[in-house]
Amino acid sequence: MTTVEERLLPSAEPVQLIDQNGVRHEHPQYRLPADEVLVDGYAQLVKGRRINDQAGALVRQGRLAVYPSSHGQEACQVAATMVLREDDWLFPTYRDTVSIISRGVDPIETLTLLRGDWHSGYDPYEHKVAPQATPLATQLVHAVGVAHAARLKGEDTVVMALCGDGGTSEGDFHEALNFAAVFKAPVVFFIQNNEYAISVPLARQTVAPSLAHKGIGYGVPGERADGNDLAGLLAVLGQAVAKARAGEGPQLVEAHTYRVQAHTNADDATRYRNEAEVTPWLERDPIKRLDAYLSEQGLLDDNAKQAAESAAEQAADELRVGLMEDVSPDPADLFRYLHTTQTSQIKEQAAFLQDELAREEA
């Protein structure tokens, strides 16, 4: 096999720098991030977990319509934003709430979609975070466009485009990778392979050696990492972002992780998988191992842990308080944002509703 193939195919095993017992492993290609980065990352993981669990509770309390949790995938969520600069872009899916919040977006605005008062609650330009995509893989082509525009403007922005394992089966995944490759667009396609697309396990989604192996078919370097190892993810994603920024074109990274909970609270995972399958993944938890490693290294004392936890608690509180507030979106908003200049049709319809509501009140 030639060097082209060596350049484009992923490592034989997912890159892992810290294993599930918190033991560090050397890797010929990737270096462990600096201590302070890992300590900061640890605090973010703790906060991400707390947000996930709080959001789940808020669903049960009827304050959110639904919540697709990234419980267990927090290392991916946090790594995806930690490797970005402020002027880079993030393209998240419905599962990436934690990623969005860790990028700095207001948590309540982030949850607008799932609370149901509007389709998207934050200004995408404020933190350069695209609206969460529901139709699978459709956001990946947008990411290519944003990245290409940056290139045309002479900016060295990178776009981090998130996608699930199931999403890789959609035609848009294919078109996005190919367009990015042909235009050398600075996009990092980051697949969180959590082994499930709702009820469908990876083995029914693809029989490829790995999802990272899809890169070579587009001339895009593919790499894979342990998705529960923040250190490994930061190293791999960091390198991918650096390469994309340096003009080497798009990069594909697959994280091997696991959807510990059901697809959403509305899903019943017992219908399609056994607890026995889940248990080993709890052992591979991203927080536990980083805790073990950092504690062992003396980088994380009780004070630091305490600080991380109270910061997380505060974030959860904000979420709770914010979502306990009742909102009543203005029905006139239905007509307000569709066009820059309202058409006469929309004006008529807005007036119709206004009149109807006025009569109801009267």
Binding site: E170, D268, R271, E356
Partner: protein
């Protein structure tokens, strides 16, 4: 057979089960329709009863699902596929428009495609964006497709059985918000077939024309109107293509006034067609222009605002009030 109390979801499940028992070429596939039984449980237990070859999950790709159905149908199968929500049918649009709809015509009838595309349809369930679209107008406008929407539990069963037996492709729209509606039904009872509208309620003053999720709303409106002394007739279209011109026109002629009630945005829609064709045919029987109560020409609203968008009893009654009664 005795009457049973079923939800629409159960009736649909039973229809699939009976169809698969009756004909082993019937296959059911799509996203999460196997072990999970579909996100709405319409395919619950089918894999267990019929095995992985008959009811199975596919990779997550709607164009692939519909395209594969085309090939299976070309080679002797009767595929029934599920689009998980109707907005997720859009990736398959090219396959539907350019192949599913056209293959029979293209091949001078040599290749027939007995495919059913089942789609949880329309809103009213507080779903987030992309989960409550009403896409019937796209399909009804596409020559070569048969488009069906049940509004009752009995019809859900009958129409799905008929759709699966149908020799040509059928878009089968399942009103999501009626999935859990329970009715006492006798599944062995013969119901009108595809292409036939039915009058669900008689009334001499005006006609409400509805289909799918708006039929119960129209019925409720008629109920309320009766209390106010106005007798509204309710027509349930059941099938959008073919369209039952005869029954609908007969109904409208009998009252001289009509309101079309549909959830989809009104512009260039099935409801426009109904107004246009009924007016063309019944112009001189009309005491007033036909009114429409439809969704606004906006994207389906977020959960907290959907009630302002959906045709309501009050809105229907307002439209009825607007039928220029002073003229008659």
């Amino acid at each position: 057979m005795t009457h049973v109390k079923l939800t629409m979801a159960q009736a649909l499940n039973q229809a699939l089960r009976d169809a698969m028992r009756a004909d082993e070429t019937v296959l059911m596939f799509g996203e999460d329709v196997g072990a999970l039984g579909g996100v709405f449980r319409i395919t619950d237990g089918l894999t267990a009863e019929f095995g992985e070859d008959r009811c199975f999950d596919t990779p997550l790709a709607e164009s692939g699902i519909v395209g594969m159905a085309v090939g299976l149908a070309m080679n002797g199968m009767r595929p029934v596929v599920e689009m998980q929500f109707d907005a997720f049918g859009y990736p398959a649009f090219e396959q539907v428009v350019s192949h599913v709809a056209k293959m029979r015509n293209r091949t001078r009838g040599k290749v027939r495609l007995p495919i059913v595309i089942r789609t949880p349809y329309a809103g009213g369930i507080g779903g987030v964006e992309h989960h409550c679209d009403s896409s019937e107008s796209y399909y009804a406008h596409t020559p070569g497709l048969t488009v069906v929407a049940p509004a009752t539990v009995a019809d859900a069963y009958t129409l799905l059985r008929r759709a699966i037996e149908f020799p040509d492709p059928v878009i089968f729209l399942e009103p999501k918000k009626l999935y859990w509606a329970k009715e006492e039904v006798d599944l062995t009872e013969d119901q009108p077939g595809i292409g036939q509208a039915v009058v669900r309620r008689e009334g001499a003053d005006a006609t409400l024309i509805a289909y799918g999720p708006t039929v119960p709303v129209a019925m409720e409106a008629a109920h309320v109107a009766a209390a106010e002394g106005r007798q509204l007739q309710v027509v349930d279209l059941r099938s959008l293509v073919p369209f039952d011109d005869e029954a609908v026109c007969a109904a409208v002629r009998s009252t001289g006034r009509a309101v079309v009630v549909a959830e989809a945005s009104g512009f260039a829609s099935v409801s426009s067609e109904i107004v246009a064709r009924v007016t063309e045919r019944c112009f001189h029987s009309l005491a007033a222009p036909i009114r429409r109560v439809t969704g606004f020409d906006i994207p389906y609203p977020p959960p907290m605002l959907e009630r302002y968008h959906l045709p309501s009893v009050d809105r229907i009654l307002d439209a009825v009030d607007d039928l220029q009664w002073e003229d008659s």
